[in-house]
């Protein structure tokens, strides 16, 4: 059963999805996993994901687009000339491809309730993220091996493949998160 679960998760990740917020106790239930049907990516979609990972991942973790809603990605992509204080401009064709990818895979939920009308530019500003990380002591995040909440993969060991399960967490110099 565990094998089947892992296979389903792997298939989901290959389809470009994100395996989010799964509490470890839920992971043991087969119905939870078998409900996922992975759609294989077309050649073009794979190329788009690779382009996104190459371009955006050159400077920082390539966040899965599912973490922010459309209006956040639009705001981000429309201000790449001043992207968190740096010039992150792209050539027009790549810019269009990446913006389309982000917007079409964006979160369907607004995710910004309680932000007083602000459009989130950082995933770590969203109420859901704050809630999920509310128990993490600041020193674990600001330490040199992590730097900030922007570096998902510092602690979420499978973040690059879109998996953020609790049992995969290894906080540098502290270990797993119980």
């Amino acid at each position: 059963m565990r094998k089947l679960l892992n296979l389903s998760v792997a298939a989901l990740l290959l389809a470009g999805g994100v395996y989010l917020y799964a509490e470890d106790e839920h992971e043991e239930h087969e119905h939870h996993a078998s409900s996922f049907v992975a759609k294989p990516m077309s050649k073009q979609e794979k190329a788009t994901v690779l382009l996104y990972q190459k371009e955006c991942g050159a400077c920082h973790f390539a966040y899965q687009p599912e973490f922010l809603p459309k209006r956040s990605w639009d705001k981000t992509m429309n201000s790449l000339n001043n992207h968190f204080g740096t010039d992150a401009t792209l050539d027009p064709s790549d810019h269009k491809t990446i913006q389309n990818y982000l917007v079409s895979h964006a979160s369907k939920n607004d995710r910004m309730t309680g932000m007083g009308g602000e459009i989130a530019m950082r995933i770590s500003e969203t109420p859901n993220f704050k809630h999920e990380h509310r128990e993490i002591p600041k020193k674990m995040v600001t330490q040199a091996d992590v730097k900030s909440f922007a570096n998902c993969a510092s602690c979420h060991t499978k973040a690059a493949s879109g998996s953020y399960r609790e049992r995969e967490i290894r906080i540098p110099n502290y270990g797993s998160w119980e």
């Binding site: 050159a58 400077c59 920082h60 973790f61 000339n81 001043n82 968190f84 204080g85 740096t86 010039d87 992150a88 401009t89 792209l90 050539d91 730097k147 922007a150 570096n151």
Partner: protein
């Protein structure tokens, strides 16, 4: 004839940049000459100065190319904001470097903006590429 071809291929490999990037530098050279009649070719020493000197960057703080790339271009660098590791800039240490005009163009524009808060001139771009090629 065959001998000439071998010599040509050998000299291309010594240039440490792909034919596409060499072509791009030839165009930069023409622009530099048009902008400055006393221009007489790119210079690695000027490029080194551009690369290693500190300026007020886009964020209004002191910044140099070496803030992220370090002073040893054969070593990995580190993005000073995110901490992400940057592959070596030297084409000798990293054969992927200076192989794509699109990449070279993109990073020169971005990084001049980040460090100098303006775009580089054709001469400055050529100088800094010459410096990178020789390191």
């Amino acid at each position: 004839m065959k001998y000439l071809a071998i010599v040509w291929m050998f000299s291309m490999s010594l240039m440490a940049a792909s034919p596409e990037v060499v072509q791009y530098m030839n165009e930069l050279s023409k622009t530099a000459k048009a902008e400055n009649s006393s221009f007489s070719g790119f210079d690695a020493a000027r490029g080194k100065e551009i690369f290693t000197s500190t300026h007020t960057g886009k964020q209004g703080k002191p910044m140099a190319c070496t803030s992220c790339h370090t002073t040893n271009l054969s070593n990995n660098g580190k993005n000073s904001l995110t901490g992400k590791v940057i592959d070596p800039l030297s084409p000798r240490a990293n054969p992927q470097r200076l192989t794509s005009t699109k990449e070279v163009n993109k990073w020169l524009k971005r990084n001049f903006m980040d460090v100098y808060a303006r775009e580089g001139s054709a001469q400055e771009k050529g100088d800094v590429l010459t410096y990178i090629m020789k390191n």
